[in-house]
Structure formats: C-alpha cells, structure tokens
C-alpha cells in the first residue's frame, strides 16, 4: 500500500515505517474539549486534583496563541487528533506478559536484545499507556522508583503532586498547556538521597495509531547526592497525515545530585515534535541533556536548565540532522540565577537535501550571579547548496562579573577531506559518512554504546545517496 505523500518525503526509506494492526481496548473520539479531558481523567481513575489540573491547563491552552517564531505550526489541526488511546488491559511486568502484536513491534526495534545486555528497566510506551515496565530488584530495594507516570500517580500520588508542574507550569507555553491537559504515560523516576543508579534507565516511545498524539509526561526527581542517567529513544512508524508529539519533561536535581537525560529522536518525517524539557539544578547539582534529533518534520525543543543555587552546573549537548522536508529548530536554554554557576552548550547541526537545521538558544545571567561561566559552541555542517543552517543565540547578561562565550562555525564538507579519504581507497559515500560521523563525534561519544551505534547507523541511512 503506497501512502499518499503530500510532503514528497521518501517514505520507502523510513526503515521503521511498519505498523501493526490496531488493537485498542478503548479509543476516545477525535478532538479536544472539556468532555474529552474529563473522560481521560475518569478512565484513568485519577484523583480530583489531577482532574482540576487538566481542566485548568485546557483553559490555558485555548487562551494561549501558537508561538509565532520558529517553524510554522498553523497546519496542526488540534481537533483532528485522538488524545487518548488505551491499547491493552493492564500492563505486563515481564516480557512474557506483553501482548504478541506489541512484542512484534518491539522485536523489530530490538528492545528485548538491548534489555538483555544493558537495560536495567524498560518502560516502553506504546500509545498512551505503558505496557511493559521492569525494574531491577536491587534498585527497588534502594528505593528507586521507575514507573510510567500514570502508575506513579496511583502508587505515589504525594510525590507526583508535590512536583508536577513546578518546573514546567501549564502556563509556560501553549504546548505545555496541551500536554498538561491530556498527558498520558511517560516515565517517572525518583532517586532517593545518595543513591547512584549506575546503569542507564531506558524507555522506548512509539506512536502507532494514525492521528494519535503522544503526550507523555516525564518527571525525574533526584534527591541530594544521587545520580541517574535516563535514556529515551523514539521511533515512529510512517503515516500519511501529520502526527503530533508534545511531551513535557520536568527534572529536579537537588543538592550535589547529578542527572543525565539522553534522547535519540527519530520520529517519522511527518511528525511535529514540540517538546518542553526543563530542569532545575540546586546547589552544586549537575544537569546534563544529551539530545539527538534525526527524524520528525518539525522539531522545536529547547532543553533548559535553571541553575537556582550556587555551584549548579549545566551541560547541554545537541546533535541534529535535517534532511529533505525537515525543519529542525532545536536549541538550549541556560539560566544562571545564582552565583558561581556554570554551563556549557555544544550544538552540532547537519543539513542536507534542502533541510533546515539550526540552533536557537538563550543564555540568561541574572544580576548577582557573580562568577558564573557559560560557553556556547554551535557548529553547522551543510552538505549541499540547497540546505540551510540558522543560529539564533540570544543572550541576556545582567551581571558584569560573569563570563559568557559564544563560538559558531558553519562549514561544508571540504573537497580536500573527501579526496584524502578517497585516496586511501575509501568510497565517496563512505568518506562523506566518515566526515559527518567525525563532526558529531563529540556528542556521540557521550552516548551509551548501543545508542551511539544506532545514531551512527541512522545518520548513515540518512546519508544514503548523498554523493553523486
């Protein structure tokens, strides 16, 4: 079946564009109004405060205009989307419990293999509900909570209520309001004081039903002195109409704790990926975002760190690839709101086949944030004359005693480099691949091994046919 293709995107080359027949226990009607939101809340059996939170958020969503900067979002029809799908009854706790159709999807994504080797816990979001969650016993003993957010709301309502919306309030932006109104699933991680989770916690997200929005809500709370590395990889199958993915991620990193959040995003190239990711870092805490964006039609995502107490640190690494028909507008936001806070932002963007990739960032240093340091580096690699790279580095520096540096480079793959590699027998396409891999290597080396391999493989796929 050849899907109609209004964007002219080469769907045949989207490796994971398979789809399983839909099997849902419950599928809400399309559209967005109070009734839908109340139904979502009551289907989930949520407490009254959550229902109120959703309805309050929905009102704000209706009032708030779409952002007028960045990509054009006016093509999104918010009334033509299913906001809630519940794929199966209950959740599997072991691989055997997971339904066959869903297993097949995961098999094709290689999840069980990955789990055997590396995964400590898998939270795999299939549509709006997590179907599979597994957490290594030793961490349960340590008091680490790793659940889908719906379960967390049932099992640990007090913690959820304490932190939900404190980092990204519903009023933050229109898409955050939307997520707050209709959220489903996502990961919830709580790491008690002093506990260091030394193997990354991972979750796969996947959209499978046409016109199903994915509105997961992820929260990570790192108590003082703790450490956790959370990894999410996203793939979505191909559909003919635009999909919307709008997540909210809230992270609290308390004194001396460290949190790393790694994303490889490979949404199909008809997905709008509009995500609000933000962390608050307290005294001497460290927050690290590692963000890879390969897929999607439009990505607007600006991982942020608010450094609110002295000694807090932020590191944001971003790699983005924009091919044909893609507009990648990622970036970073670092807010220095306390003395002696430090941040570092490294962004690498690659544009090809008319794609548009860039960096949009904000560095904010508040008065009194003395001795703060911020270094931003943006490198763009443009592979042909039809593609485009934009850099928008906003800086608001209101403290004299602060050091802020910004470096930006834009380069093309040089003929000298290509000739050098080819003069050693390496074919033109592989030579080009090698140069691109080298370009993003500073980010890739920060990824867990299997993600590094996957990212390199995805880039290699995107690069196919790039050398005439």
């Amino acid at each position: 079946m050849a899907p109609t293709n209004p964007l002219g995107i080469d769907l045949d080359h989207y490796e994971w564009g398979f789809r399983d027949p839909e099997k849902y226990v419950f599928k809400a009607r399309k559209g967005l109004d109070r009734e839908i939101v109340e139904m979502i809340s009551s289907m989930k059996g949520e407490p009254e405060w959550m229902r109120a939170f959703r309805l309050h958020s929905l009102e704000h969503f209706f009032r708030r205009p779409l952002p007028t900067w960045g990509a054009d979002l006016t093509q999104i029809d918010f009334n033509d989307i299913y906001y809630y799908l519940k794929p199966t009854d209950g959740k599997g706790h072991t691989w055997e419990d997971v339904p066959e159709g869903i297993k097949r999807t995961f098999d094709r994504l290689g999840i069980p293999e990955a789990e055997k080797k590396y995964l400590a816990g898998v939270g795999a979001q299939y549509e709006s509900e997590s179907v599979y969650h597994n957490l290594k016993e030793e961490w349960e003993k340590l008091g680490v909570i790793f659940l889908d957010t719906d379960s967390a709301l049932r099992e640990h309502p007090d913690i959820v209520r304490e932190y939900l919306g404190t980092v990204v309030p519903p009023e933050d932006n229109k898409l955050a309001a939307l997520n707050s109104a209709v959220w489903s699933g996502g990961s919830f991680i709580y790491v008690p004081a002093g506990v260091k989770v030394d193997i990354p916690l991972q979750a796969y997200f996947r959209i499978n039903a046409e016109k199903a929005g994915q509105f997961e809500r992820t929260m990570i709370i790192c108590e003082p002195g703790s450490y956790v590395h959370y990894v999410e990889g996203c793939t979505a199958p191909i559909y003919t109409t635009d999909l919307l993915h709008s997540a909210v991620v809230e992270i609290i990193v308390k004194e001396g704790a460290r949190c790393r959040y790694t994303t490889i995003q490979n949404w199909s190239t008809n997905t709008y990926n509009l995500v609000t990711k933000r962390a608050v870092a307290y005294r001497d805490a460290t927050m690290e975002w590692v963000d890879g964006n390969i897929g999607s039609k439009v990505t607007m995502k600006y991982p942020s760190v608010y450094m609110v107490e002295p000694g807090a640190k932020a590191e944001i690494l971003s790699v983005v690839f924009a091919g044909k028909g893609q507009y990648q507008d990622p970036g970073a936001k670092v807010v220095h709101a306390a003395p002696h806070t430090q941040s570092s932002v490294v962004s690498k963007s690659i544009a090809k086949d008319g794609g548009r990739a860039g960096y949009r960032g904000l560095v904010k240093v508040y008065p009194g944030a003395v001795g703060s340091k911020c270094a931003v580096r943006c490198d763009a690699l443009i592979l042909d004359d039809r593609s485009r790279s934009d850099t928008y580095p906003y800086m608001e520096i209101d403290e004299m005693d602060a050091s802020v540096t910004h470096e930006a480079t834009v380069s093309k793959v040089s003929d000298e480099q290509l000739f050098y590699l080819m003069s050693r027998g390496i074919r033109a396409d592989e030579a080009m691949n090698m140069i691109v891999r080298g370009f993003i290597e500073p980010i890739v080396k920060e990824l867990p091994l299997e993600y590094a391999v996957e990212l390199n493989r995805l880039i290699a796929m995107e690069m196919e046919g790039s050398v005439g």
């Binding site: 000739f419 050098y420 003069s423 050693r424 027998g425 090698m434 891999r437 993003i440």
Partner: protein, 276 residues
C-alpha cells in the same frame, strides 16, 4: 609497457597551465625521483596521478597496467594499488586514525560490505607501528588532528606501510624534517621497497637531494616549468648536490630552450642528461 605510463600530460587549475606535456614511465621495482624548483609542477603531477579533482587534465593520457587511469575515481586508483604520501595531509576531526586506517586497509584488501575483522586489523596495525617506531597513541588520535609536521609525515608512511601500494608517490615527504628524521623516513621507504621484492615502485618528489642520498633512486628526473626537462641516473642528483640548485638553474633553462628546437641527448657537466 611500463606499469605507469604518462604521455604528454597537460594540466591546469582554472586558467593557469601547470603541466605542459609530461612524459614518464615507471614500473614496480623502480625508484624514481623528480626534482625541481618550487612551482615547477612536481606536486601537481603526484596529485593528478592520484585523481585530485582540484586539477583539470586538458590533454594527454595516463595508463596504469594498460588501463585508462584518468577515467578512474581516486578511491578506485587507491584500491588498485596507487598511493600518495601527501605533502600537507588534511586533518579530519572526530575520526580516529584507527577507524580511518581500518576502513582504508579493508578497501585496499577488497572487503566489500564488512570491514576487516578488528583482531586481524589490530595485529597488523600493531606490527607496523612497532616496525616504524610510531607513537602507539597515534591510532587513538583524530586523523592528523594536532599532529606536528613530523608526526604527519610519519603517519603518511604508516598508511603506506598498511596499504602496501604497487606505486607510491611521495610528495615532499622529506620537507620540514631534520636530517635524522629524513633518514628514518628513507629507511622506512627502503624497507617497504625491499619487502615488496620488486612489487613496489616509488616516485619521490623532492626539492632537496638529501633524501636521495639514502634512497639511491634508479632514475632521477628534473622538472622545470611544467615539463620533465632532463632524466638520468642517481648521479644526476649528485650533480645537483655539487652545483646547488641555483647554480644549474641557468643550465636547465639553456637545455630547456634548446630542447624546443632539437630534442637530443645533451652533455651537461660530466653527466649525460636525457632531454625529453
């Protein structure tokens, strides 16, 4: 027919004509040297033979083992056994020498989809690194990134040792090295040459005669203004050594201008120079 047969090669960059009819025959088992002043076209010749797209061949032919070399892409030339040690190797950040070398050796050895197995490659790499006394840290560094001049030259030699070419062009591999380093490089080239047992030809491009004292080329050619004006044996290099480069420049010019008219075997000093 020689393995590499260059016939009346004319080359230009944009509007500037650089090679004005070069003829040269070179076979495996032979060591040739091309000397000449700066700007005479020596490096251009080596780059054109390797397929550098920066240069345009406007006329002439080059055959490699009877095949049309100029129709081949650089990577194909390399896989068929040609090699160039660059005068100014470019750096490629983010790509480790080890992964680059593995890809190169795999291509040269005819691996198609996969690469040479890691263990086999590592063993090979280690043996060459030891033999050439190269810093064992080099494979972990990015390609030529932050290398000193000498390190770059030695890295080129390492690549040559790994790729085992049939014809190697050494583009001013001796320049910028002190005399001890020149000897080390020359010894490495000679060892490869000996180990190839007649299977490797070398074309050394140099501005100075000192590397030739170690290499003892079978044939020495002098390039001037885009042409090889004289060819001879190793004694030609000695001649240059004695008279100095500037000292015989005028003689070149005399010979070159006479060549236009006659073309002959000429006597210059004690040496018979074959004038092309």
């Amino acid at each position: 027919m020689a393995d590499l047969d260059i016939r009346d090669l004319h080359v230009q960059v944009e509007e500037k004509v650089i090679l004005k009819g070069v003829n040269l025959q070179l076979s495996a088992g032979e060591i040739h040297a091309i000397m000449g002043p700066n700007g005479s076209g020596k490096s251009t010749l080596a780059n054109v033979l390797m397929g550098n797209p920066f240069y345009q061949v406007t006329s002439g032919e080059v055959f490699y083992k009877g095949e049309d070399l100029l129709a081949m892409a650089p990577d194909e030339r390399a896989r068929k056994g040609l090699f160039i040690a660059f005068q100014y190797p470019v750096s490629i950040t983010g790509v480790t020498m080890a992964s680059f070398l593995r890809a190169a050796v795999s291509a040269r050895r005819g691996y198609k989809q996969e690469l040479m197995p890691v263990s086999e490659f590592q063993k090979l790499l280690r043996s060459k690194i030891e033999a050439l006394k190269i810093d064992p840290e080099v494979p972990g560094r990015y390609v030529n990134d932050g290398f000193s001049g000498g390190e770059k030259k030695r890295a080129e030699i390492l690549q040559m040792a790994l790729l085992e070419p049939q014809i190697a062009f050494m583009d001013e591999t001796d320049s910028g090295l002190d005399i001890d380093s020149v000897k080390v490089v020359a010894d490495s080239i000679l060892r490869m040459y000996d180990e190839a047992r007649g299977g490797m030809g070398v074309l050394v491009i140099t501005h100075y005669s000192r590397i030739l004292q170690f290499l003892r080329p079978h044939h020495v050619h002098i390039m001037y203004d885009g042409r090889i004006v004289v060819s001879g044996g190793p004694e030609l290099a000695e001649e240059l050594e004695q008279h100095g480069y500037e000292g015989i420049r005028q003689q070149f010019e005399v010979v070159a201008s006479e060549v236009q008219e006659e073309g002959a075997v000429r006597r210059a000093g004690k040496v018979f120079w074959v004038v092309h």
